[in-house]
Assembly symmetry: C2
Homo-oligomer: 423 residues x 2
């Protein structure tokens, strides 16, 4: 176990019970305040540690170029320095925030500049996402969709258990948590309609996903093995792959989802490092039939991350509609990256790879309204008595995620988005 993960560590910054951001977490993000431009920070309790201030005070043993990266409005230059640097920075931040370390604790002037209340800051999109791929790696989700849209007896398509199915998504329309999204308009066609029509989507859905961010690039033509894959992963976020089911149904043959997805996707602002997630590794589900050699792996490659989704109507009380877990993933991240590069496709620093909807085995753990309401057949009742088959205008969908073990809770914060009426 790395020193920074020690459950005994305490910070001199107050961390309330149930906080997502104890000293064992230290996720990276980009924030802005009324006084400062967008810059890099680390979450601790209810505060953000301003890394540009810490660097400029000389508390990091880094080159000038490395220090300057913290003043950049995107984390790409920082992540691009590689794990040797990013892990050293995380370890040093852990030292600086440690209750036994007086360097920052007893420097009132610097502390006042470098420690910002999260409530006084606005979180930004943490990085420039160069390429975005979405996988389809939850067996329960793929099975549910197959039962609904194809054939209950053969719910999974023949390729599904042989490779992690994935497709390219739109990088430009990924927004940070808190950014409202307008209900998309688009072409749809009812089965019994003679012609398609154009208008606001009537079947707007969320998809509960997680995404990982690559921090190391490859050269076109080369591949990454499952054993090497985790070295390429900087960290993880929560991800809502908003989906317009009616647009998707009409457009998606034969080349896949397009306008049903690219009107917006929401990511959480804090990137939790793979190092912080290390204690939460667990065994993967058994893969049967046996996978091809390039997809075989050793060790614990799944992660036990509790996930939940709440729908909050405007001025109303919210309802938790799903409790799932990232551990259910049939295909793990190492397999996804090995598969993605098996043909030589090159990876860049700042790519986002999303999991696909993460559904568990029971209806209360399904990761989309399509599954939860089973195509609208089983609407859920909200605290105010209204029903939800899909997402209504002015609903806010909030996703949360956290690991918990030995009294330490490593959380992801929120991935939240409000749906505004179509323009």
């Amino acid at each position: 176990m790395s020193k920074a993960n020690n459950p005994q560590l305490k910070s001199w910054v107050e961390v309330k019970p149930g906080s997502d951001f104890p000293i064992q977490n230290l996720p990276f993000g980009i924030f802005r305040t009324a006084e400062t431009n967008a810059r890099a920070g680390v979450a601790i309790g209810e505060y953000i540690l301003d890394l540009a201030e810490i660097a400029s005070a000389g508390l990091f043993n880094l080159s000038l170029e490395q220090k300057v990266s913290f003043s950049h409005p995107m984390l790409n230059p920082f992540i691009d320095m590689g794990k040797s640097t990013t892990n050293a920075v995380r370890a040093r931040i852990s030292d600086l925030l440690n209750s036994e370390n007086s360097e920052l604790r007893d420097n009132a002037e610097l502390r006042a500049k470098a420690l910002i209340k999260q409530s006084d800051a606005e979180m930004q999109k943490p990085l420039w996402i160069l390429n975005y791929t979405d996988f389809y790696s939850s067996k329960e989700h793929a099975t549910n969709v197959g039962i609904m849209f194809r054939d209950p007896a053969n719910a999974l398509l023949p390729n599904w258990k042989h490779l992690p199915v994935g497709y390219h998504g739109r990088a430009s329309s990924i927004v940070v948590s808190g950014t409202p999204i307008h209900r998309p308009k688009g072409q749809t066609k009812a089965d019994d309609a003679p012609m398609p029509s154009f208008g606001p989507s009537e079947l707007l859905d969320f998809e509960l996903e997680m995404g990982f961010i690559t921090g190391k690039r490859t050269k076109l033509g080369t591949s990454i093995s499952t054993a090497e894959a985790e070295d390429y992963i900087f960290g993880m976020v929560l991800f809502n792959d908003w989906s317009a089911r009616d647009i998707q149904k009409w457009e998606y043959v034969p080349l896949g989802p397009f306008l049903a997805k690219n009107f917006g996707s929401t990511m959480s602002p804090w990137i939790v490092t793979m190092e912080a997630l290390e204690p939460f590794r667990i065994e993967s589900p058994t893969q049967e039939p046996e996978v091809l050699p390039y997809l075989k792996f050793e060790g614990k490659k799944n992660f036990d991350i509790n996930l939940e989704v709440e729908i909050i109507p405007e001025n109303g009380k919210g309802k938790t509609v799903s409790k799932s877990n990232f551990k259910y993933m049939y295909w793990n991240m190492a397999q996804q990256l090995a598969h993605h590069t098996s043909n030589g496709c090159n990876i860049q620093v700042g790519d986002l790879y999303a999991s696909g909807t993460i559904s568990g085995p029971t209806p209360d753990s399904y990761g989309s309204m399509l599954e939860i309401s089973w195509q609208g057949k089983n609407p859920i009742t909200m605290p105010d008595g209204t029903e939800r088959k899909f997402i209504l205008d002015n609903d806010t969908v909030v996703m949360k995620g956290y690991c918990e073990k030995d009294g330490v809770r490593i959380g992801f914060g929120e991935c939240s988005g409000k749906i505004l009426p179509a323009l």
Copy 2:
């Protein structure tokens, strides 16, 4: 007609008959020589005009920031200035190269610095491609594929004539003409095989396409009408959407092509501006049934661009295997962009939107080996007597494109790529 398109214009730089780059063209690209870093240039005859040198000599009436953009290794900052600037720059270059203008013609010192033989330069990828979308807009191509893989009686899927089908591709693996690509490995499964296997693709294909580059951004949630669309398009390139048919067949349900495409795509280095293509507008094919209002358009939105594909074996004689034309496109670029943004998806500066394979009505105008050899049933015979059903190792595929009218030929140069054996 803009002054720069006047067929009577002559340059003091020699332009041989049949050249792609007369003074009426002036496409933009990024080049490098043994002496200079990557920078912006314009093609004229067999030469490149070094725009950084011209700018630093004070021959452009531009701000310092605008001048500096020519020293950038990507065209994004230049294109981002908008059409008012890029068109003014093109008009000024037209003046400077005009045989009647002495400013550069008679300045031997500057001319020696600013005019570089194309054979002394290496063309680079001209821009950082932020998002890449591939459409599927040739009716002949979609019909051929439908006949081969689905149902000859219902070759086009129900949505095809109602919307320009498209999907997201991988931006990271787009390379510039001249970059060799290794044959991809991947999972494939023969229909009669009990299990898939992994190895080099045996059905490697080209796809003859063109792509347009956006030079203006939109805000998430907003749409572009067909009337506004061309204002967002900076220019066009030739595009080879290399495709591994055996990988595609196994992987592509239900979410579309992925590893069958993202091992590499090749673009031509010179971006021909929409202004240079203006004289070559022609009527679009009739669209029947009538399209929805947001896809209707006025005026000539197709372009008469001759296209051809040659396969050249190593140390052997090449064979032209396709002669097609961009005018065959059923869905035009204005419709593609209107559809892409109809749901609010945002456009960035430096996105590439490819047409999909451009097949004409006759077998000699098909845009892929899949169609030309009809799934390998009709192999073509090369000059050396060997056969081609698909692309073999060490074959080079060369795409060319040009418009011609009133004695003016506006060409795209080459989009060339050699397939190396799998690694």
